[in-house]
């Protein structure tokens, strides 16, 4: 594969006396499908919050595509090409699905475009997600899978180089998981780098080129899926022995 | 020596005044801090309780505090009614807190009008053995005088606060209330009806209006619109203390009481509000969740 897209260099984050991340270092390569696993409270979400800019890391460096991200507000990081989804979907609930997608299109991927161009672009993404017919629907009546897809579609609408998917499959049925996986793989094949956080092992292992595992804020394992599954540390972290 | 004497007296008066403020705010700390209902009518309902106290004192000669205890159940029931209505129209449809704000504004006006129609617009006071007298003490060369009326207010407020704090910490119901604040889902999975919990918690919060009203008329003269003057204070105290923290509310009330008393003594009372609310702004700027606030900044 190719060069490093995201470099995480001894990143540390503390809340009061509690250390959520300690000295985490890793790299994500351009075009990679990257899995991030770990038990509850291991620091996965904190790490991606630090990458996406909702939190600022206390120590260490994050470098993305040549930009040093530390201290940069989240919206600027989005402009450099990072977007993310949320574990619990956070749609703009007073807007239609179409309008939800228009926000990243207007603010990130096509700044200065006319309303028609923006709408066309948003519609295009909805079509690729198979949600075109719901464009003018409010978000209130959406099913769980639709909410997840909207969350992904909105992130993709920003045309990111790196998409961080935070448990996009929690609570979905088996076929729905496959549907989401298919979407992610499709966009990866178009060149989008993807970090996937997931509890559903089957999905991560099937999806990822490479996986890291966090436990109690520390990186305990890194490697291809087959190695990770066999790793003793990972097993201990998950089984709590 | 004069300065020291003034300072000590100002601090004591501030602590006592803080107790009074705590009594006014503690119910709101539950309704607003734990349950997210922006009950703007809280101070006005306290005034309503104060008028009831006045009536019981004037007609039956009851001691104000005793009267306050007697009307507390009435306000508990009023709380049940208000929350049921509030839930029906707002919370059930997960309406924004903003709409609730307007609802409680409306409630404030309606309560005020009822008070005007029933009691008229004149100022009312009550009498009791502990009003208008003070306890004198000497600490070495320093003379300290403590007005009994504030001492009573402080004692009752302290009992109320500690009682509620223990109730919320130790009882199953109290823990359930805190859980409602954090995670409604988990609670309903445990087989507890979160709405019932919230209804009762709100009623308890409103029940405190009964005693707080009695304290109010013991401490200051009342008229129907006097509640509006305290809206700023009580919300400032709850927010300053940190939403959901009863002990934070008590500490914040003390801070505001001491600030008001010390500023009044040494710099002139007209600057007191600027200092009190300046403290609030300062704290919010550096600690967005208040003194003892936890977690999210809603």
């Amino acid at each position: 594969m190719s060069e490093t897209l995201l470099e995480i260099n001894s990143v540390t984050k503390t809340f009061g006396g509690f250390t959520a991340l300690s000295n985490v270092s890793t790299e994500v390569l351009s075009g990679e499908r990257f899995g991030l696993i770990g038990p509850n409270g291991s620091g996965k979400t904190t790490l991606i919050n630090c990458i996406s800019g909702l939190l600022q890391n206390d120590g260490g460096k994050i470098i993305f595509d040549g930009h040093q991200l530390d201290g940069m507000p989240a919206y600027k990081r989005t402009a450099t090409g990072i977007t993310r989804t949320f574990q619990i979907p956070r749609p703009f609930h007073t807007m239609t699905i179409m309008d939800n997608l228009k926000i990243p299109v207007e603010f990130v991927s096509k700044p200065g475009a006319t309303q028609t161009e923006i709408a066309d672009e948003a519609m295009h993404i909805l079509e690729t997600m198979g949600m075109a017919e719901k464009a003018n629907q409010e978000t209130a009546g959406l099913t769980q899978i639709e909410l997840r897809k909207l969350e992904l579609a909105r992130a993709i609408a920003a045309k990111p180089k790196l998409l961080i998917s935070d448990e996009a499959m929690a609570g979905l049925t088996g076929t729905e998981v496959d549907e989401v996986l298919e979407i992610l793989i499709k966009f990866n094949e178009q060149g989008m780098t993807i970090i996937m956080i997931e509890h559903i092992m089957r999905a991560v292992m099937q999806f990822s080129h490479r996986v890291i595992c966090l436990d109690a804020g520390e990186l305990i394992a890194e490697g291809v899926p087959e190695e990770i599954v066999k790793d003793e540390g990972v097993e201990r972290a998950y089984l709590g022995v | 020596m004069d300065f020291l004497e003034l300072l000590i007296n100002a601090l004591i008066a501030g602590v006592l005044l803080g107790g009074f403020f705590a009594a006014l705010s503690i119910g709101l700390s539950i309704c607003f801090g734990l349950l997210d209902t922006v009950n703007l009518a809280h101070p006005t309902l306290i005034v309503a309780a104060a008028f009831c106290t006045f009536l019981l004192n004037d007609v039956f000669g009851l001691d104000p505090i005793l009267a306050g205890v007697l009307i507390t159940p009435v306000f508990f029931v009023i709380g049940l009614v208000i929350y049921t209505a509030y839930y029906q129209f707002f919370e059930k449809n997960s309406a924004e807190a903003l709409r609730g704000l307007a609802f409680f504004f409306g409630l404030l006006f309606i309560t005020e009008v009822i008070l005007i129609m029933v009691f008229g617009v004149d100022h009312r006071l009550v009498n009791a053995a502990y009003i208008g007298k003070s306890m004198g003490m000497s600490l070495g060369t320093i003379d300290v005088s403590i007005p009994y009326r504030l001492l009573v207010a402080f004692a009752v407020a302290a009992i109320m606060t500690l009682g509620l704090q223990m109730f919320l910490d130790r009882s199953f119901f109290g823990r359930a209330t805190r859980a409602v604040h954090q995670d409604m889902m988990a609670l309903s999975l445990m087989g507890v009806d979160p709405v019932a919990i919230k209804r009762i918690a709100f009623a308890i919060g409103l029940g405190t209006c009964g005693l707080a009203g009695a304290l109010m008329i013991v401490v200051i003269p009342i008229e129907p619109a006097v509640g509006r003057l305290f809206i700023g204070n009580v919300f400032a105290i709850v927010v300053l203390g940190g939403l959901g923290s009863i002990s934070g509310t008590l500490i914040a009330a003390m801070i505001l009481g001491i600030a008001e008393s010390v500023v009044s003594t040494f710099f002139g009372p007209s600057w007191a509000p600027a200092v009190s609310f300046g403290i609030l702004l300062g704290v919010l700027a550096f600690r967005p969740t208040g003194l003892l606030g936890v977690g999210d900044t809603r």
Binding site: - | R149, E223, S264, T265, P269
Partner: protein, 425 residues
């Protein structure tokens, strides 16, 4: 989609506006056909809000006046009607109310509501229409305007802020004071009173050792009283509103004070509810007043009968206003009475002539003889200085009898001698 709906909404909105304005004007049509009916006297009055206690009292007195004058044949042979609206003690409502009174209700005369800050916004309206404007308890409202048709009933003399407390400072001379402390509520009336008091204090050569204001929501006054005590003043002048007055009197009872004279401009101590509530704590306070049930007040002809009628009215009609009515009733009666007398004497509705007549006439009213100076204020100050004494309990009845509020000044109606504060505690 939204745009189309918004367009529809706009049409609906315009339609709504038209309908509501039609309804609005329709409700006023009947008011436009006035002229030959009764003479209408219009005013705004604080019937709700902070000053409602005074406002409601004043309104009842004015209704008594209306019944009286109508019984005597009315004004210019026509019956008198009062037209009034509640200003909610909010000055913002006042300009609109007076415009409504003059333009829509077509009242023949306007008089003011109760209180300085509710008179002030009505002044330009009166000046604009060049009509006579009678004021009820305004503190120097005409200072900037110098309007020649404004007359004001508060008996504070030609320089009201100073005149209001001049008798009080006269009364304390016997203590041979050297120092004074002053406290005022953060509100217009109290602040004006304090400024006048500062002038009087300086004239007497008193040293000002404390001079501060307190905000309306002050809950505990003991820090203020202690801070004043620390300065050991001979005199403690207080210009306060009802909440503060009651709070300070209580704080004085709790903390005590060695000042010889305490009080001065404490509004609210004249109100029945507060007097009864404070009871013996009032003893020793030296305060202003306008009317008290002392026998010498007989020089105000008809005043005690008026007060009795008011108290009867409150009882029989079950009104929720001040049970005693000493504070405002005679004055609210007098300010409309003077207008009535003047109009009947001039014999026509001619505002220039009526104003001229009021300027040059000495009126005999329930508040005694009244003369107005060039600025529309009384030519002399008739503020009464009273000292509370001999109050034993919280019974309201005792305040309706002579003896609890003895008159110290003016000399001609004096019923007692001023004593040091602590001598009466």
């Amino acid at each position: 989609m939204i745009r189309i709906l918004a367009n529809r909404m706009r049409i609906w909105l315009v339609a709504g506006l038209v309908v509501s304005s039609v309804v609005l004007s329709g409700s006023f049509i009947n008011a436009a056909q006035a002229q030959k009916g009764p003479i209408k006297v219009g005013f705004s009055m604080a019937l709700t809000g902070a000053l409602a206690g005074g406002g409601k009292q004043a309104l009842e007195a004015m209704k008594i006046w209306r019944d009286d004058i109508n019984a005597k044949g009315g004004m210019l042979g026509r019956q008198v009607d009062l037209v009034y609206y509640d200003d909610q003690t909010n000055p913002k409502n006042v300009p609109g109310i007076y415009a409504k009174l003059l333009d829509v209700d077509k009242v023949d005369f306007i008089v003011s509501g109760y209180g300085t800050n509710l008179i002030a916004p009505a002044m330009p309206v009166a000046i604009d229409r060049e009509v006579v404007f009678m004021g009820l308890f305004g503190m120097n409202n005409n200072k900037k305007w110098k309007y020649e048709k404004y007359f004001q009933i508060l008996p504070a003399g030609p320089d009201p802020a100073v005149g209001f407390s001049s008798n009080w400072f006269e009364a304390i001379k016997s203590f041979k004071p050297k120092t004074i402390a002053l406290v005022a509520a953060d509100a217009e009336f109290a602040r004006n009173l304090k400024e006048g008091a500062v002038t009087n204090a300086k004239r007497m050569g008193l040293e000002i050792v404390y001079n501060k204001n307190y905000p309306p929501k002050t809950a505990d006054f003991t820090p203020i009283v202690r801070a004043v005590n620390a300065k050991k003043p001979d005199i403690f002048y207080i210009a306060s509103y009802p909440n503060g007055s009651a709070g300070i009197v209580r704080a004085l009872a709790e903390v005590g004070s060695d000042a010889k004279a305490i009080g001065g401009g404490m509004v609210g101590l004249q109100f029945a509810g507060i007097m009864a509530g404070l009871g013996p704590n009032l003893n020793g306070i030296l305060n202003y007043d306008f009317y008290v049930p002392e026998p010498t007040m007989a020089i105000y002809p008809g005043s005690s009968e008026l007060i009795k009628r008011y108290q009867e009215k409150v009882k029989t009609e079950g009104l929720k206003t001040d049970a005693l009515g000493y504070y405002l009733v005679p004055w609210a009666y007098a300010y409309v009475d003077i207008l009535g007398q003047a109009v009947n004497a001039v014999g026509k509705i001619d505002h220039d002539a009526i104003a001229e007549y009021i300027h040059k006439t000495k009126f005999t009213t329930v508040v005694g003889d009244v003369e107005f100076g060039d600025n529309g204020e009384w030519t002399e100050s008739r503020t009464i200085v009273v000292q509370y004494q001999g109050i034993k309990n919280n019974d309201l009845g005792q305040f309706a009898k002579p003896g609890t509020r003895k008159i110290m000044l003016p000399e001609d109606i004096k019923t007692g001698d001023v004593q040091p504060f602590n001598a009466l505690r």
